[in-house]
C-alpha cells in the first residue's frame, strides 16, 4: 500500500480548509451573542468559568441576556456585529458541507486503504513520536516513518484531529440542539450536560486553532513549496508553481469569506433564504420528528432561571399585573370554526393542568431548568377547531420592542409563528405557572408558550392573542416571527 496523495485527498483537504474556516468564524459569531461559558446547566449569573466581554450589568434593574450580547469584528466573526441569525445560518450550512466532505474523506480513506496514513501500524508509533518531539525541541527535523509521508508525531496528531477532534465537534454541537436534547436527555448527560457540551465545543474550537497554528508552522519548517506541491500536484515537482497556486487557493478561500461577509451585511434576507433552504432539509427531515420527553427532577430546577426580553412597559399591562391579570383576555381566532375570548380562569378550566420540568435553550446558548404548568396547546387547538386551510399559529405578545427592549435589534410588537403541525407534540404548552407559582412578570405573565423541541426565541411571552393563519407572509416583515424579521433567524427552532 503506497501512502501517497490521490486527487480526492487533495481536493478534500482544500475543501476542508474552506468549511473549517467558515465554521470557526461563524462559531465565534455564535459565541459573541452570549460570550460566557458555564459548567452547569443553570448558567447561573456569576458562575461562568470564562467570559469574553467587558460589559457590566446593573444590580438594581432587570437585565436580560440581550443586554449581555457582544459585538465582534467581522475579521473574527461571520458576519460580525451581533448578527446571530446570519451567523447561525452560516454555521449550520457549513457543518452540512463539512460533514459531506468529511464523510467522503472517511469513505475513500477506508475504501482505498489510505487510512493507514493516519492509523498506526504498530505500538512503536508512541516511542517514535516521543523521539520526534525531542528532535523538534532540538530544532531539527525528525525522519519520516519508513515508506510513509509523515513522521510519527504528525501521524498521531492527524489521527487525533481527523478521527477524534472533528467528530467530537459534531457530537458536542449536536448536543446543543433543543430537539436532540429534548428527545435524548441522556445523550447530553454524556458530555456532562448542555453547558458542559457547549464549553467542550469551545475547547474544540481552541484545539482547532492551536492545530492550525502548528500545522502551518510545520508546513513552513518542512518546506512550503514541497508540501504544497504534494497537496496540489500529488508529488514534489514545480515547487515554485505550487507555492504560487497555494497562495491563490488561500486567496480564493479568503475571497469566499469576504464575499460571505459582504453578502450577509448587504442582503441578510437572501442569505437567510438560500442557506435556510439547505439547512431546512436535515432540520425538518430529521430533527422535526423528535418529540420532547423531558422530566428533570425537582432538585434540578434552577434557582435563578435566566430571562430574555423585558416585560411590556405599557400602562395597561402594569395595571393588569397589579390586579393579578383579572382583566387580561386571550383572543383566539383567525381561520378557526370557533373563535374564543378567554380570561385566565377560563383558560385554566379548559383542562387539567399539565406540568413539565424541562431544559430551556436560549438561542444565545444559555440554558436553565424550569417547571412549567399550563394548558396543552393541542387542547386549545382542538377547542377552536382550525379550518382546513389553517397552517400556522401566530402568537402575539403585549411586548413592544420599540419601547420595552432597548437591546433589541428593532422595534414593534413581538410575535412568533409556529407550524400548526407542531401543536399536538408532547410538552407543547401554554404556561400560566412556573415553579409552582403564577407565571412571573419577567417570564411572560400571564401566559407564555412552551415548545420544548424548539429554541427559546419561539416561545413567545406576554401573550394576549393567538391567530390561526394560512400564510405568515403578511404578518410583520413576513418571515414568521419578530426575531426572524429583525435578526434573520430561521423560522424553525430545532437547532
Amino acid at each position: 500500500m503506497t501512502l501517497d496523495y490521490p486527487a480526492w485527498l487533495r481536493v478534500d483537504h482544500w475543501l476542508n480548509v474552506l468549511f473549517l474556516t467558515l465554521l470557526l468564524r461563524s462559531g465565534i459569531e455564535i459565541l459573541s451573542t452570549h460570550p460566557k461559558l458555564y459548567r452547569h446547566e443553570d448558567s447561573a449569573p456569576g458562575t461562568q468559568w470564562a467570559k469574553f466581554t467587558g460589559k457590566v450589568m446593573p444590580k438594581d434593574k432587570l437585565y436580560d441576556t440581550l443586554d449581555e450580547e457582544e459585538d465582534y469584528h467581522p475579521i473574527i466573526a461571520l458576519p460580525g456585529h451581533a448578527q446571530l441569525g446570519i451567523g447561525r445560518h452560516w454555521h449550520f450550512a457549513a457543518v452540512i458541507g463539512w460533514i459531506l466532505v468529511g464523510s467522503s474523506y472517511y469513505i475513500l480513506l477506508f475504501a482505498t486503504g489510505q487510512w493507514h496514513r493516519y492509523w498506526p501500524y504498530s505500538w512503536s508509533i508512541f516511542p517514535d513520536a516521543w523521539n520526534d518531539i525531542v528532535t523538534y525541541l532540538s530544532f531539527n527535523l525528525p525522519p519520516l516513518l519508513p515508506g510513509e509521508p509523515l513522521d510519527a508525531i504528525q501521524k498521531l496528531t492527524y489521527a487525533g484531529v481527523i478521527f477524534g477532534l472533528a467528530p467530537f465537534q459534531i457530537l458536542t454541537g449536536a448536543a446543543q440542539s433543543p430537539a436532540i436534547e429534548a428527545r435524548f436527555p441522556r445523550y447530553v448527560r454524556l458530555f456532562g450536560g448542555r453547558q458542559s457540551a457547549r464549553s467542550l465545543h469551545f475547547l474544540g474550537l481552541a484545539a482547532f486553532l492551536v492545530f492550525i497554528a502548528i500545522h502551518l508552522s510545520m508546513v513552513v519548517f518542512w518546506g512550503w513549496g514541497r508540501l504544497t506541491a504534494l497537496m496540489i500536484f500529488g508529488s514534489i515537482r514545480n515547487t515554485h508553481w505550487a507555492t504560487a497556486l497555494s497562495l491563490l487557493i488561500i486567496m480564493a478561500v479568503v475571497t469566499v469569506h469576504v464575499a460571505a461577509t459582504v453578502w450577509s451585511q448587504r442582503s441578510p434576507a437572501s442569505v437567510r433564504r438560500v442557506l435556510g433552504a439547505v439547512i431546512s432539509v436535515p432540520r425538518k427531515g430529521l430533527l422535526r420528528r423528535l418529540d420532547s420527553r423531558q422530566d428533570y427532577p425537582r432538585r434540578a430546577l434552577s434557582a435563578e432561571h435566566r430571562v430574555n426580553g423585558k416585560p411590556p412597559t405599557a400602562e395597561n399591562y402594569k395595571v393588569m399585573a397589579v390586579h393579578n391579570f383579572v382583566d387580561w383576555r386571550l383572543r383566539v381566532g383567525g381561520l378557526v370554526e370557533q373563535p374564543v375570548i378567554l380570561d385566565l380562569a377560563g383558560l385554566r378550566a379548559l383542562a387539567e393542568p399539565q406540568t413539565q420540568r424541562v431544559l430551556h435553550n436560549c438561542v444565545q446558548g444559555w440554558t436553565s431548568i424550569g417547571e412549567w404548568t399550563g394548558l396543552p396547546l393541542g387542547t386549545l387547538v382542538d377547542l377552536v377547531r382550525p379550518l382546513p386551510q389553517a397552517r400556522y399559529i401566530c402568537f402575539m405578545s403585549m411586548q413592544d420592542n420599540s419601547t420595552d427592549e432597548p437591546s433589541a435589534h428593532g422595534g414593534g410588537q413581538f410575535y412568533e409563528v409556529l407550524d400548526l403541525k407542531l401543536a399536538h407534540k408532547p410538552q407543547m404548552l401554554l404556561a400560566y405557572a412556573m415553579n409552582g407559582e403564577p407565571l412571573p412578570i419577567k417570564h411572560g405573565a400571564p401566559l407564555r408558550l412552551r415548545a420544548e423541541t424548539q429554541v427559546g426565541f419561539k416561545m413567545a411571552k406576554w401573550i394576549n392573542q393567538i391567530e390561526f393563519v394560512d400564510d405568515y407572509a403578511q404578518i410583520g416583515k413576513g418571515r414568521g416571527g419578530w426575531r426572524e424579521d429583525n435578526v434573520y433567524y430561521g423560522m424553525d427552532g430545532e437547532i
Binding site: 449569573p45 461562568q48 468559568w49 467570559k51 469574553f52 450589568m57 525531542v134 532540538s138
Partner: protein, 142 residues
C-alpha cells in the same frame, strides 16, 4: 475591566506548577545525564530544582490570597533568571559544559525554556486580571 477573563484558579495554578515542575525536571535530567558536571553547575541545578518546587508548593498554601502570590513571584524571578541565563549561555560557551552551552540544539533546554515562558505568561495573566490564581476569588454576580 478585562474583556477576557477566566475563573479557573485551580487549573491555572496547576498548569503553572506543572510548568515549574518541567523546569525542575529538565534540570534534574540534564544533571543526571551530563558526564562530569562542574561544581557550579551542580549547585545551579540543585538550586533551580529546589527553588522551582518550593515556589510551586507555596502557590498551593490555602491560607489567604497573599501567601500563594509569593510562590508566583518566586517562580517568576527564577524563570526570568533562567531565561536570561539560558539565552546568554547559548551565545557563549561556559567552562566545563561544552555540550550544553554555546549551542541551541538541546532538547531539554528548549523544553525548559518553553516551560519557563509558559509560567511567566501565566503569571502575567494573573497579574493583569485575565486569570485568578488559587487563593483568589472572582466577585462576579453576572
Amino acid at each position: 475591566m478585562s474583556s477576557i477573563a477566566f475563573n479557573l484558579p485551580r487549573s491555572v495554578t496547576l498548569a503553572a506548577d506543572l510548568a515549574l515542575t518541567g523546569v525542575a525536571a529538565t534540570h534534574g535530567y540534564v544533571l543526571a545525564t551530563t558526564p562530569g558536571p562542574p561544581g557550579y553547575f551542580i549547585a545551579y541545578c540543585v538550586a533551580m530544582i529546589i527553588g522551582c518546587l518550593a515556589a510551586a508548593a507555596i502557590t498551593w498554601i490555602d491560607i489567604d490570597d497573599i501567601v500563594p502570590g509569593w510562590g508566583w513571584w518566586a517562580g517568576s524571578v527564577i524563570c526570568v533568571a533562567f531565561v536570561i541565563g539560558y539565552l546568554i549561555s547559548r551565545l557563549i560557551s561556559l567552562p566545563g559544559l561544552p555540550t550544553l552551552t554555546g549551542r541551541w540544539d538541546i532538547a531539554p533546554g528548549s523544553l525548559a525554556l518553553a516551560c519557563a515562558g509558559a509560567f511567566i505568561a501565566l503569571h502575567l495573566t494573573v497579574l493583569t486580571g485575565v486569570n485568578v490564581a488559587f487563593g483568589q476569588r472572582r466577585a462576579w454576580y453576572y
